[in-house]
């Protein structure tokens, strides 16, 4: 730290353009000056690597934006992560205030300021014609599409693995299904001309690394080129008819349905078409990877035996009634929810009120488009007063169902699609 100039603290110029300028200023300032700015000393400041500035000064974490959300459970405040209780996910189209929040870094200043001026999306790499597209270019040059698409964190359900695995302990609510408006990813890739050597996409955004280091990527994941060229994925600028909110990727993001949410890059600035499997931040190691073979819970799997998680498993939620609700015995009670599958289709949903001993088929509606979650509902009759659980089980078109217990333990706790269940008390 001592090699940094210990000059006087200058006021932050609020007229500076958004982006990295404020951080650039801070990077040239000594830590004792940071302490003066914070109004306190920074214990253990020796732990801060050169060039890294305290998060408290680097960037607003976006916490204030959580006031626009209702009823969410905050898992972490820096970075911001919050899930939605199941009974608040009853809407067919998830409204903003009930959309879960999953951030790997900090909300970029451009999003906090809702400033999309000069925003460009670069498409380069294994393409015939690299593109640099403004939001206006995207809107003018490609067909606009609006789709209802679910986005689910790959770690949704992590809390139920034993032994535990590291990361946010999502229970059931790291899922939402808003309506997105944008252009097809495939159309943009085709306009750039994907070369035969293309293997994978690599996605980049301008969110800020937790360390405050402007050189570090927060997260950069991608999809196999075959998946990217399917018609489902979109580059979106609107969510539920409004510009994409700051917490969800303003002004531009990918929505790649069926894959872990991390593939759907927020704050999208670049799509790098790769001639190899993308090796960006959180593509390698144990991040968003599963063991190549089944392992006993708690097994340490060698890194080379971890494979990239792609298609999300079939799953369902009971969104009505809320768990613990009292209902009359001997009369029909409506239970309902949503079902979805990374393959894009759910074939059936069944419910049980006797701990899985018997099952009845629920009514299952067709989705408005592929990769929208599907509404299901059923009437259950609880025979006598007492405690019951409703279990829901979705089955995909290949006959694969949700298990009643946590499936396939893995070191980082991904892909837990165990059946959701709620308590009902018959009176």
């Amino acid at each position: 730290m001592s090699d940094l100039p210990d000059h006087a603290v200058a006021p932050i110029d609020t007229d500076q353009p958004p982006g990295n300028s404020r951080r650039a200023f801070l990077r040239g300032t000594s830590l004792s000056a940071f302490g003066a700015l914070l109004g306190m000393t920074i214990p253990f400041e020796r732990n801060l690597p050169a060039g890294i500035i305290p998060v408290a000064l680097a960037q607003d974490t976006g916490t204030d934006l959580m006031s626009g959300k209702t009823g969410l459970t905050i898992m972490s405040d820096r970075p911001l992560n919050a899930e939605t209780p199941a009974h608040l996910l009853d809407d067919d189209i998830t409204p903003y205030e009930r959309m879960f929040v999953r951030l790997n870094g900090l909300v970029p200043q451009t999003a906090l300021d809702a400033n999309a001026e000069g925003w460009t999306l670069t498409v380069d790499g294994e393409v015939e014609t690299p593109l640099s597209l403004t939001l206006e270019d995207l809107k003018a040059q490609f067909e606009t599409v609006t789709k209802v698409l679910w986005v689910e964190c790959g770690g949704n359900g992590r809390a139920f693995f034993q032994p535990g695995s590291s990361g946010n302990q999502w229970t059931m609510g790291a899922i939402g299904c808003p309506e997105w408006t944008g252009v097809r990813l495939a159309d943009v890739l085709k306009a750039a001309g994907v070369k035969p050597g293309a293997v994978y996409t690599g996605h980049y955004g301008n969110d800020v690394h937790l360390s405050g280091d402007a050189e570090k990527q927060t997260i950069s994941r991608g999809a196999p080129i075959e998946k990217a060229l399917e018609e489902d994925a979109i580059i979106a600028w609107a969510m539920n008819g409004e510009p994409i909110p700051a917490l969800h990727g303003f002004p531009l993001r990918l929505v790649v349905p069926g894959y872990p949410g991390s593939v759907s890059q927020k704050y999208l600035t670049r799509i790098w078409v790769r001639d190899q499997v993308h090796d960006g931040e959180k593509m390698t190691g144990y991040s968003y990877r599963l063991p190549a073979y089944p392992v006993a819970p708690g097994t340490e799997v060698p890194e080379e035996d971890m494979v990239i998680m792609t298609v999300m498993p079939v799953k369902s939620l009971i969104t009505f009634p809320e768990t613990g609700t009292e209902v009359p015995s001997g009369a029909a009670t409506e239970v309902r929810g949503h079902a979805w599958c990374g393959k894009g289709d759910v074939a059936a949903v069944h419910v049980s009120t006797d701990f899985g001993a018997t099952w009845q088929e629920a009514e299952l509606l067709a989705p408005p488009n592929r990769f929208a979650w599907q509404r299901w509902r059923a009437n259950v009759t609880l025979p006598q007063a007492g405690y019951y659980e409703v279990w829901a089980r979705a089955t995909d078109a290949d006959g694969i169902s949700q298990p009643p217990v946590s499936p396939g333990w893995n070191p980082r706790g991904y892909g837990n699609n165990l059946q959701h269940r709620i308590a009902l008390v018959a009176t």
Binding site: L48, I52, S76, P163, G167, K216, G298, A423
Partner: protein
């Protein structure tokens, strides 16, 4: 079924005296377990209905000065090491193996730009994390 419950209740009442009788007279409460969540162990299938971390009650009391980390040796060092990047909220959620903690440390140093302190200090922090945020103890 009702008769069995009544016999049980009366039997308990006879054994435990008037206090138990009062409970028996109010009838069984099917939601009792849900209203008293902390008594359900994490191994109980009902744990699926809520986040396990929220019901943890064992161990040292949280210290607000150090982001509510359990007040024990190593809390201060852990607080200042980790909150350079993220809040303690993510630490407080963890129940992982020692091997996962070792891997996480390496990942944060190599990939996330975390400062790697002197071995003695690292030992203090890792011991603290492995003691209080473990699936092994």
């Amino acid at each position: 079924m009702h008769q069995i419950q009544l016999k049980l209740a009366l039997g308990l009442a006879a054994l435990l005296g008037s206090a138990a009788l009062a409970v028996a007279q109010s009838g069984p409460d099917p939601m009792r377990a849900l209203r008293n969540e902390v008594q359900i162990s994490a191994a109980d299938p009902m744990a699926a209905l809520r986040a396990p971390a929220a019901t943890e009650t064992e161990g040292p009391a949280p210290n607000p000065e150090f982001g509510n980390l359990p007040d024990a040796p190593g809390a201060e060092e852990t607080y200042y090491q980790c909150t350079a990047c993220h809040s303690t909220a993510i630490i407080l959620q963890q129940r992982v193996t020692d091997a996962r903690w070792d891997d996480l440390w390496q990942w944060m140093v190599e990939k996330q730009g975390m400062f790697d302190p002197e071995p003695a200090e690292k030992e203090v922090i890792m011991t603290y994390l492995k003691t209080h945020f473990s699936s092994e103890r």
